[in-house]
């Protein structure tokens, strides 16, 4: 069993899965890949990739401070891996953020367009600057391999101490400002997490997490390369972590006690359970474990303790980033598998880069024997062709790339939708309007509807002859089809043509060439239109005739139908300006999602300013053209 090779294969597989999601996300948009909504715009990607990612990278500034400022010489060997982890962590954070941002290509805006009042602005600048500092701090290590860059390296080594200072300062600033970010949402966040001193809590927990992340990473990489675990140094870190965690616990519980929220911790609600679990895992159990010298000095105890802190603190960041707000927003957000795949892929990429660096550069005082160049490895043969796959290095490369593309293909296959479409469209069947002379149009039966005076519209539009202006078509064998019979879905288009039924024995049983011309391609665009056979379905001189077999959504159909006339009338005759207002039809409570751009216009009648939808005669005419009336 080759631990390194197997681990790398798994990491490449996860990366392949994430790459498939990444391609879909950037080509078809966020809606396809995430379960995020307007009520829950921050999900796993922010909670885990960004919030927890930044905190996990805290090891960089903690270890440089330990070594360069507090002169703890015994931790020298841990500094390089810690800086590398921090550097890769920040790159991963930026990668995760780019996937999450709706318009990622605008990320440079914060460099030019300053908004110094925003905590996000501070976070953005700090991440940007600190990533640069980390790159400069780490670059002497790879530069060591190339003698021609010796001069650059020596310059970097000279400015190392100022770089370390700047790095610690920037980390302190933005580890805490990630907490400040949430100060603006006291109404949204649960009281157990919300606190005026969140920035302090974030900073202290980042220090503890940094220490434990360095320990965990040391334990894991030693296990992976079959080296003797560095128990003595890790025990030292664990001892320091006890104090930091204790400070964190006092700050956290003290704040809750002062705010008088002590009782909320044990009231048995979902949040209180989350909070207690989080505190037990991240702080209390590790403090107890590490206080016992025997456990602190054993590799097993160190594994458990550091894992608990890391896991618990990630849990804390995810609670703050979203879980603590669910009861306020009432929005049940469960991340889609694609969101999780991207998060895992980002971590995998960072881990692969870490392993690459450890194998190629002088990160540890004794470089690990390259696991893929072991002279004793047996030759590997390709299963199908029985060909030797080459040296272990080449064979590994062959395997990793195969794992990557197979995972990519599998992930790509399970992307939602036949034609990849936004999951944001909810499939709500439309219902028939109720009433007689006055209709209540309420397609989704949520009792926010519109009273439609049918009789008055018949009168004002020119009695019976005007019917076809709205009732453009019937469904087969029917006379007075309701709008909802074809426009069957509230927000999605419906295919009203039953292709297979037309060819089926139990249906119309007609041959392909009845509709498709023999010399033409069998395409929708070249096939016969419905009206070529079903002329009886169309009202004489109907305004709309079906060309595409697709009925627009119920909401679109209703608005197109009404607004085309209303806007034209309102724009032509200023006494009828109110016809264009939303509230003219939607007299009840207005749902929040109705967003029409409103403008202030000087009314020629009253001489006062009135608020009107932004509709001019020109746009109204254009819409009239589109409707074809």
């Amino acid at each position: 069993m080759n631990r390194v090779q197997n681990t790398k294969t798994v990491l490449w597989t996860l990366l392949g899965l994430a790459a498939a999601v990444g391609v879909t996300r950037f080509v078809f948009g966020l809606g396809v890949t995430t379960n995020l909504t307007d009520a829950t715009p921050w999900g796993v990607w922010i909670g885990f990739d960004v919030m927890a990612g930044v905190a996990l990278a805290g090891g960089g500034f903690v270890m440089t401070a330990m070594f360069y400022i507090f002169k703890r010489e015994q931790y020298h060997d841990l500094v390089k891996p810690a800086v590398l982890t921090a550097f890769l962590g920040y790159i991963a954070v930026v990668g995760g953020l780019l996937v999450d941002l709706g318009l990622p290509w605008n990320i440079w805006h914060m460099i030019i367009y300053w908004n110094p009042h925003s905590p996000l602005f501070e976070v953005g600048w700090c991440v940007m600057l600190y990533s640069t500092v980390l790159a400069l701090e780490f670059s002497p290590v790879p530069l060591e391999e190339f003698s021609r860059y010796a001069r650059i390296r020596s310059v970097l080594m000279k400015v190392r101490f100022p770089l370390v200072l700047v790095g610690i300062m920037l980390s302190t600033l933005h580890q805490s400002s990630l907490g400040s970010l949430f100060l603006i949402m006291p109404q949204k966040m649960h009281a157990l997490w919300y606190s005026a001193i969140m920035p302090v809590q974030f900073f202290v927990s980042a220090v503890a997490l940094g220490l434990m992340m360095v320990s965990l990473e040391s334990l894991a990489s030693h296990w992976l390369y079959r080296r003797k675990p560095d128990t003595k140094r890790v025990a030292g870190l664990a001892k320091a972590a006890i104090w930091v965690l204790a400070v964190y616990l006092i700050v956290k519980l003290g704040d809750i006690a002062l705010a008088g929220e002590w009782g909320m911790m044990f009231d048995g609600s979902w949040e209180s359970n989350l909070f207690v679990t989080e505190l037990l895992l991240s702080t209390i159990i590790p403090i107890v474990l590490f206080s016992i010298p025997r456990i602190r000095l054993s590799a097993g105890g160190q594994w458990v303790g550091s894992f608990l802190v890391v896991f618990g603190m990630i849990f804390n960041r995810m609670n703050v980033g979203g879980l603590s707000m669910l009861s306020t927003t009432g929005d049940s957000y469960v991340p889609s598998w694609m969101e999780i795949a991207v998060s895992l892929g980002v971590v995998s990429a960072a881990a692969l880069a870490f392993l690459f660096a450890v194998e190629r550069f002088h990160i540890w005082d004794k470089r690990p024997r390259h696991p893929e160049s072991d002279p004793h490895t047996e030759p590997v043969f390709d299963y199908s062709s029985r060909v030797w796959l080459g040296t272990p290095l080449v064979a590994a490369r062959t395997k990793y790339s195969l794992a990557f593309i197979l995972a990519f293909a599998l992930g790509f296959a399970f992307m939602p939708g036949d034609e990849i479409q936004s999951k944001g469209v909810k499939m709500i069947p439309a219902q028939r309007a109720l009433g007689g002379d006055t209709l209540f149009v309420d397609g989704n039966h949520n009792s926010f509807g519109t009273m439609f005076n049918h009789a008055r519209h018949v009168d004002s539009l020119g009695s019976k002859e005007s019917c076809v202006k709205c009732h453009h078509m019937n469904i087969p064998k029917d006379k007075q089809s309701a709008c909802s019979d074809c426009h069957r879905n509230m927000y999605a288009t419906t295919d009203v043509f039953r292709h297979d039924w037309h060819g089926d024995h139990d249906g119309a049983n007609i041959s392909c060439y009845v509709c498709h011309q023999p010399e033409m391609e069998k395409q929708k665009s070249s096939a016969m239109k419905c009206r070529d056979c079903h002329s009886d379905l169309y009202a004489d001189s109907a305004a709309d005739t079906l060309d595409t077999y697709l009925a627009s959504s119920y909401v679109d159909a209703m608005h197109k139908q009404c607004m085309a006339c209303h806007q034209l009338a309102g724009a032509k005759d200023s006494t009828k300006a109110t016809l264009t207002l939303c509230v003219t039809c939607h007299t009840g409570a207005q749902p929040d999602y109705l967003q029409v751009k409103m403008i202030e216009v000087l009314s020629p009648h009253s001489g006062e300013n009135v608020i009107m939808p932004d509709i001019t005669l020109e746009t109204a005419m254009k819409q009239e053209e589109q409707v074809g009336r």
């Binding site: 790339s401 599998l410 296959a413 399970f414 060819g503 391609e521 395409q523």
Partner: protein
């Protein structure tokens, strides 16, 4: 049947497309990596670049060598490849499918051309198969997949022709369509892992064989001497 068709058109198609494109890129990258590594290890690093480029271009233009040896076979092979590449990429119906998914399409073949090219591909594939079976020299150097490929490649062309042209009932249409899609997908998936990969590896063949001759140093001359072809270009 509709569910099968939807599954074949949706997830299965995406799997096969991804495996094909990434798989081809993968073997291209692996081969280039291997060549670079071999070149680095070679004692003699001089490569006849002009010769390699000239020979590669010569191989890429098929008509150059057609009539030197086995003219009929070469001609059939070229005509077979013309239809094999043009019809799947430039058929109107296929371009329409792309337009529906990725939002843009490209130049398409007129339907009559597409039909004739389909028929020619089928005929020449069978001719190639017969040529391989009929010649002792060919049989001697043939593997199983060499016999199989002309026959497998014909399946999507035959089923596609049925769907596009014959006045068949809906049930037959759907079965042919399913066969058409599934066989094309099998070909897509196998493409990077079989000899069909030559579609992307051909430009590398010259440089790789030249690099391969290079190590250890002097191998090329030694081999030529052994083969009684001293001084011949390699």
């Amino acid at each position: 049947m509709d569910a099968f068709l939807d599954f074949a058109r949706g997830p299965l198609f995406r799997v096969s497309l991804a495996v094909m494109l990434l798989g081809l890129l993968r073997i291209l990258a692996l081969d280039i990596f291997g060549a670079v590594e071999a070149y680095r290890k070679a004692g003699d690093k001089t490569l006849p670049w002009r010769f390699i480029v000239r020979r590669t271009l010569m191989w890429l233009v098929p008509v150059n060598r057609v009539f030197t040896r086995r003219p009929a076979y070469s001609l059939f092979s070229i005509l077979f490849h013309v239809g094999l590449l043009l019809v799947p990429i430039f058929l109107y119906a296929h371009v329409e499918l792309w337009r529906g998914v990725i939002g843009f399409g490209w130049w398409t073949l007129p339907k009559e051309w597409a039909d004739w090219l389909t028929i020619s591909t089928i005929v020449f594939a069978l001719a190639l198969f017969v040529g391989r079976v009929g010649s002792v020299a060919s049989r001697f150097i043939s593997r199983k997949q060499d016999y199989l490929w002309p026959l497998v490649l014909v399946i999507p062309f035959v089923s596609g022709y049925i769907c596009a042209n014959l006045n068949v009932g809906p049930a037959t249409y759907q079965i042919s369509m399913l066969v058409h899609i599934l066989s094309a997908e099998v070909i897509f998936i196998l493409l990077p892992f079989t000899k069909l990969a030559h579609c992307i590896l051909t430009p590398l063949s010259q440089v790789i064989s030249n690099v391969a001759w290079k190590f250890p140093a002097g191998t090329d001359d030694d081999v030529c001497t052994t083969l009684n072809k001293k001084g011949a270009p390699v």
